[in-house]
């Protein structure tokens, strides 16, 4: 039995899934999300589910939470000491994420050569300044640290000047930039390391509380995974050092839910229509698209990999307004719909009026729509019809804009570069509360086959439950310098001159398998995919002096089983 919990903006959804030959939802529930006490929402949802199933059959709990996201949005993060070495290039002060930001002289080049050693004098002063300010968590980031982490290592050792490995009297936690992945982008590395530290304590307290709550419920040996924004999960113990990866995982749960509930083969559009927003995702040949480099957190671009999801302010609770001759919906949410006791007429009320849905007190919807309309010399029917049409049109416009944007820029699918391929959506998948009610209107708008899968109302929790553990790593080898380096594992090895691309691909796959193995995740050989492999001859004068090899290997995000007919 697999449990999935998705802590959303309005509701916390939970499901229990029996994985037989064909998975079935044996229990599901929705409880309100209490943002000031997320743990209570989680435990309440868990308790409701456990009442209906045999708790001894539960083997795994996958959890998607807004905890880190909210902490950042609400500015409830911890002060971080960010210490960087940048060398020549764009002035790093442009990327200063917080007040305790120190730039230390020193430079590493694109090959990983140390051009200039780190100034230990400046570094010591920076660390002292942080300590004086009471900083307990630190980010150590250097330019090109993914080619050579020497400066980051030195910063870490200086910050944490202790003999003990477990506890440190000076620092509770240090994030080193290279451990966040192999991607090149120094400003993003700085921001990602900063956020990883900023939410670290809060996230770890939550993780501990979840573990304790599970223990209390007799679920102490259940494996717990946390959802990431890229549509994969990470085991809870590993997530403790990479809390930044849990940010913005909500939309990923929905997208993975659609993958679990349907069989998508074509270029498609996925619409998750919620209370306040509609999340739009695009699939190419059945695979979701990811953000090319990483998502923005606040105004900071980061290296946090995520599915490409665009949100617009239209949902069931979006208020209806009349501007001149036009009836509009959203982007504001002004309390619940009239049918659920609210004051302002919403899209849900309009859908109730047209008969597309029957949510709550339908008569109240009709009355409020008629009143709102007549005050603006309209009929209720016209207002409701126009509002529904406006919502469908806005959703379609946004979806088309997203597809256009994807087609005009180089974008990666999860496993391959779509160079030259244009996305031409053939199908629309709908989920979320108002999905069924908006189906006909959207089908007419899009002029495409439109599907609302069964269990669409808890698809996000299903997605969370079935999402599998993923990991990725990048391997760099420089045969002139005789080194191999895997930044995210801080793994360094000497290689001979004859080391080549095939060796690198094999090593990358092996290291990935071993890493997952150490996390207690079994990886089939075919699940380790090489997503990038290149080898460049390096020439000096007219002689070849070595090879510059780059390999990227990953477990493709996906679900362990689908409800569909199967492929």
């Amino acid at each position: 039995m697999l449990l999935g919990i998705d802590v959303g903006g309005t509701h916390t959804d939970a499901v229990a899934i029996d994985i037989g030959d064909k998975p079935t939802v044996v229990a599901s529930c929705k409880v309100p999300t209490r943002h000031d006490d997320l743990l209570s929402s989680v435990t309440e949802a868990l308790a409701a589910i456990l009442d209906r199933i045999d708790r001894n059959a539960v083997t795994q709990l996958n959890l998607s939470t807004t905890l880190s996201t909210n902490a950042i949005v609400q500015n409830k993060t911890e002060d971080v000491g960010v210490i960087v070495s940048a060398g020549p290039g764009i002035d790093p002060h442009n990327f200063m994420p917080c007040k305790d930001f120190y730039v230390i002289d020193g430079s590493i080049d694109h090959r990983g050569n140390e051009v200039r050693a780190l100034s230990t004098h400046q570094l010591a002063k920076a660390v002292d300044a942080c300590r004086e300010n009471g900083v307990r968590v630190f980010a150590a980031v250097s330019k090109f640290s993914t080619r050579n982490p020497r400066h980051e290592n030195l910063i870490r050792r200086t910050v944490c000047n202790c003999k003990s490995v477990d506890a440190c009297e000076h620092a509770d936690f240090v994030t080193q930039g290279h451990q966040l992945g192999g991607a090149l982008n120094f400003p993003r590395r700085v921001a990602t390391a900063y956020f990883n530290c900023a939410v670290w304590r809060l996230y770890n307290d939550f993780a501990t509380a979840v573990e304790e709550a599970l223990d209390d419920m007799g679920l102490g040996n259940v494996k717990v995974n946390i959802l990431k924004a890229d549509g994969g999960t990470m085991p809870l113990p590993q997530s403790r050092t990479l809390p930044v990866q849990s940010i913005f995982s909500g939309p990923a749960a929905s997208v993975m839910g659609i993958i679990a509930l349907t069989d998508i083969f074509h270029d498609s559009i996925i619409l998750d229509i919620g209370g306040t927003t509609t999340d739009i995702a695009v699939f190419a040949d059945g695979a979701p698209l990811i953000e090319r480099e990483g998502i923005d957190i606040g105004s900071h671009p980061t290296l946090v990999s995520a599915l490409k999801v665009h949100s617009i302010g239209i949902g069931g609770d979006s208020a209806i307004s009349v501007v001149g001759p036009e009836v509009r919906v959203g982007p504001n949410r002004l309390g619940p719909s009239v049918c659920l006791g609210g004051e302002r007429v919403t899209l849900t009320d309009a859908l109730n009026y047209t008969g597309a849905s029957a949510v709550g007190d339908v008569a109240a919807s009709r009355q409020a729509i008629d009143a709102y309309a007549s005050a603006r010399t309209l009929t209720g029917g016209k207002l409701a019809g126009d509002a529904v049409a406006y919502a469908a049109r806005a959703i379609q416009d946004a979806a088309r804009a997203l597809v256009d944007e994807i087609n005009s820029k180089p974008v990666y699918t999860i496993h391959e570069l779509l160079e030259g391929k244009r996305i031409v959506p053939k199908k629309v998948y709908l989920m979320g509360g108002p999905a069924e009610a908006l189906k006909d209107e959207l089908r007419e708008r899009f002029q495409l086959s439109t599907e609302v899968p069964a269990n669409f109302d808890v698809a996000n929790a299903i997605g969370a439950a079935l999402t599998r553990t993923t990991w990725e790593l990048e391997l760099f080898a420089d045969t002139q310098r005789h080194v191999l380096f895997i930044p995210s594992l801080s793994y360094r090895e000497n290689v001979p001159s004859g080391y080549d691309l095939e060796d690198a691909k094999r090593d990358a796959a092996n290291q990935l398998t071993m890493q997952l193995d150490s996390m207690g995740v079994f990886l089939r050989a075919e699940d380790a995919q090489i997503t990038h492999a290149s080898s460049f001859n390096m020439v000096e004068g007219y002689d070849m002096v070595g090879r510059n090899i780059r390999v990227k290997c990953q477990v493709r995000p996906g679900v362990i089983k689908t409800f569909g007919e199967g492929r």
């Binding site: 020549p88 764009i90 480099e293 460049f536 070849m544």
Partner: protein, 444 residues
Amino acid sequence: MIKSNNTLGIIFFPAFDWAISPTHPERQERLLYTQDQLREEGLFDIEGITEFKPDVASVEDVERVHFCFPDVPSVVTRSHLISAGGAIKAGDLIMEGQTDRAFAMVRPPGHHAMKVVHGSRGFCTINIEAIMIEHIREKYGHKRIAIVDTDCHHGDGTQDIYWHDPDTLFISLHQDGRTLYPGTGFPRDLGGPNAMGRTLNIPLPPNTSDEGFLMAVERVVLPILEDFKPDLVINSAGQDNHFSDPITNMNFSAGGYAAMNDMLKPDIAVLEGGYSIQGALPYVNLGICLAMAGVDYSHVREPNYNAERIRQDARTTEYIAELCKQLPALYFDPPKFVSKGDSRQGVITGDNYVRHKQIYYDTDGINEVQQESVTLCKQCRGLYKVETRADSGPLCLGVEIPVNACPECRAKGYQTVEDAQLKGTYRYVQLINRRDKEYIRYGF
């Protein structure tokens, strides 16, 4: 977050699958470290800087500019068409107002490719700037265009293509031809009789450093640009003047390149040469991108930069200062063309200017002999005609009716092609008719 002052479109096509040979300077590795540096700097996250995919140039885009023999597919690879297409994309971005500036950071380069193409010379096969410029003129109407070629080598191909065009100003700053390939580009070369002064060469002595380059730009190039009032300024941005470049002898720095770009303010830059792929290109290209975008570039510096070590000597400064005094007159008051009876400089016979050329394609080892002629017409730029033979290959003919052709020159163009087919001994004949946008080839 940094926000740029000018929006900048960058077309990056490193052609990671194309090389002249595995150890040739123009090989797969060339833009690898530039790509690494731009990514690591987060250049594409700067608000206002956007990366665009290159277009692919069509055969017609090439035939609008070049006489390719035997034909376009036999001389170009797909990489050449994408490189030219990258430049075209830069042109479209500017003309359609999508970005304020554009930089086509593409390879293979093109500025040694001349009007006639039998193969590759100086690592170039087709002239990507010229293909972009003529695409712009065909699509958006005629424009006055200034090309400032800052590659260390003389832009002899671009000079050849625009030799007779009074609406294109070509200025080349380069290491003195007496000391470097292709051995041309002297102040006496000023353009054909219909376009005297529209070509200007600024040969600089070996070891010229930032001071000399910036002096030449300030004292010679800027006043001329000011006077010419081009609709577009294009920088043939070769980066082989760098002090660490292995195939040249100059002492220019990344900071100097950025400052020069800041002075020139080109609408479009197109990457040309530059073979110090580790020590120079990552920093020079970064500096140019920042300068074009109007973002602070003062922290861009090579790891081994030492201004004192590469400073030019006093004699060099003096020499360049003198050059700067004399050169502007060649543009502002060009001498009248005098036919001196040297057919390599060109002679006037009747109402035709005729020139003989011998061209060596060093990359492909081809020798070409050419006879070029232009009608000296009062109404238009004149009918252009070129007879060419590569080594012992067949004789070929190229005829170009210019965009502003008078009815007489236009008729003469058609007549020439018809005569060539009926009576001539040409294996291949190509007609470029810019007036009617007609590009035809005969002979298979």
